[in-house]
């Protein structure tokens, strides 16, 4: 049977639906009104996955490991792996202790002030939409601290064993982390005494920064190392962020530099949240 072409009333309904879609799109872009729904969906998905795995897969894995003579070795290996991942993070902070904090007393003062016994909270990636990471301007990941904590981590920096990844932008149990490469993310940077505010490019591993050659008199060269400036109070000062990868002249005075980040969010699943000071 042949399909009938849409009648006038159906066309009107189509038009209304498209209009409604456009209004929803505008509201979402302008006011981010649906973020709560999206975050609730993501939290539910993560919890469901976790529960489903715990109920269905984990018992079988447990039984298998129990019956296997190697089960103890497997557990030990897992614990060692977790400890190793954690030690990478600790080493990262210790090796740059003077960068994260002015001196040991500052660390002690901070820890006693906030009554904390650790300078970072070990966390694991719960959800990372790699599709959006590779295709789109939005680069976010969802993480959760390993040991339970009531602290609200909103505004805290997130690191892995390579360096800074981004910052926590919302904390509803699961922490939403805005990566450095997200186009809505800005990080103040420093190189050879000059400062600039770098913006995420939306491309994996690249952020960009625009400066005026009238202010930056020393020319920037490819491969030059860029550090965090500590301005803004989110990220510690002097942490290596990346290297200059591309230099583009926008006009006679303004120059745009692309910075290749040192950190790769796809590499390590063990992360650390540095509590907002």
């Amino acid at each position: 049977m042949a399909r009938v072409a849409p009648s006038s009333s159906t066309k009107a309904l189509y038009f209304l639906c498209i209009l409604l879609g456009a209004i929803l799109l505008y509201v979402d872009i302008s006011y981010k009104s649906f973020d709560t729904i999206k975050n609730t969906y993501i939290s539910t998905t993560i919890s469901t996955k976790f529960l489903f795995k715990k109920i269905t897969i984990d018992p079988f894995i447990y039984l298998y490991e129990l019956s296997s003579s190697k089960s103890q070795l497997i557990n030990k290996n897992r614990n060692l792996q977790a400890a190793l991942d954690k030690s990478y993070l600790e080493n990262f902070i210790v090796s740059r202790g003077d960068k994260f904090f002015m001196d040991d007393e500052a660390i002690i003062a901070l820890m006693s002030k906030y009554e904390i016994d650790q300078i970072f909270h070990a966390s694991k990636i719960k959800l990372f939409d790699t599709t959006k990471y590779f295709c789109c301007d939005t680069h976010v990941m969802y993480i959760d601290v390993i040991s339970s904590s009531d602290t609200d981590f909103t505004g805290s920096a997130v690191i892995n064993s390579e360096g800074i990844l981004g910052q926590v932008i919302s904390d509803n149990g699961v922490k939403e982390v805005l990566l450095l490469t997200d186009t809505s993310h800005y990080i103040p940077l420093e190189t050879e005494g000059y400062f600039c505010n770098a913006k995420g490019s939306g491309r994996p591993g690249i952020i960009s920064c625009t400066y005026s050659s009238l202010i930056w008199t020393n020319p920037v060269s490819n491969g030059q190392k860029i550090y965090s400036s500590g301005l803004g109070g989110i990220y510690p000062r002097g942490i290596p962020i990346g290297y200059v990868q591309g230099i583009t002249n926008i006009d006679e005075t303004n120059i745009k530099i692309d910075i290749k980040l040192i950190t790769n969010p796809l590499k390590v699943s063990m992360l650390g949240i540095i509590e907002n000071q």
Partner: protein, 162 residues
């Protein structure tokens, strides 16, 4: 051909979205965007013997927006638009060859990718991705049109008229 019921459609779109999320990081390295969810929806509208209700298309679009963590209204709007186009030209498509229909789906997917990128990745909008994706999606549609599975469904469809 009868289109699958609402639950089957939702499940199909969910699986398509999952497949898209797995394949997208690999494909983007070769400048290809493969909007599986959109193509599955378009395919369902195309094979359906009845016109798809605009509210049904809108709701499915909202569902896809939710599961793909996309901007609300983007897929809803595009699903409505394309279900309208396919419904309007459903009889005209019968005059088209398979190649022409495959080109139509390839072009539709490019339109979808282009418009999505305008909202989701405006700073990295790439004509190269659109160009390569057009050939990839058209080629893929041709492969499906020539595949034994598709021929089987066509034969079954033709046998209904015997």
């Amino acid at each position: 051909m009868k289109a699958p019921g609402i639950l089957k459609t939702i499940l199909l779109l969910f699986l398509a979205n999952y497949l898209e999320s797995i394949t997208a990081p690999a494909f983007i390295k070769i400048y290809v965007a493969w909007p599986v969810t959109f193509l599955v929806f378009s395919g369902l509208v195309y094979i359906s013997s009845k016109n798809i209700n605009p509210i049904y298309a809108f709701c499915l679009g909202i569902f896809v927006d939710l599961i793909s963590n996309s901007l609300f209204g983007l897929n809803a709007m595009l699903f409505c638009l394309f279900s309208y186009v396919i419904n309007s030209y459903s009889n005209t498509f019968k005059l088209f060859s398979y190649l022409q229909i495959c080109i139509f789906f390839g072009a539709s997917s490019v339109f979808f990718i282009g418009l999505s990128n305008l909202f989701l990745a405006i700073e990295n909008f790439s004509y190269l991705i659109l160009f390569v994706s057009f050939f990839f999606n058209t080629g893929l549609a041709l492969l499906i049109a020539m595949s034994p599975i598709h021929r089987f469904s066509v034969n079954r469809r033709l046998s209904e008229y015997d």
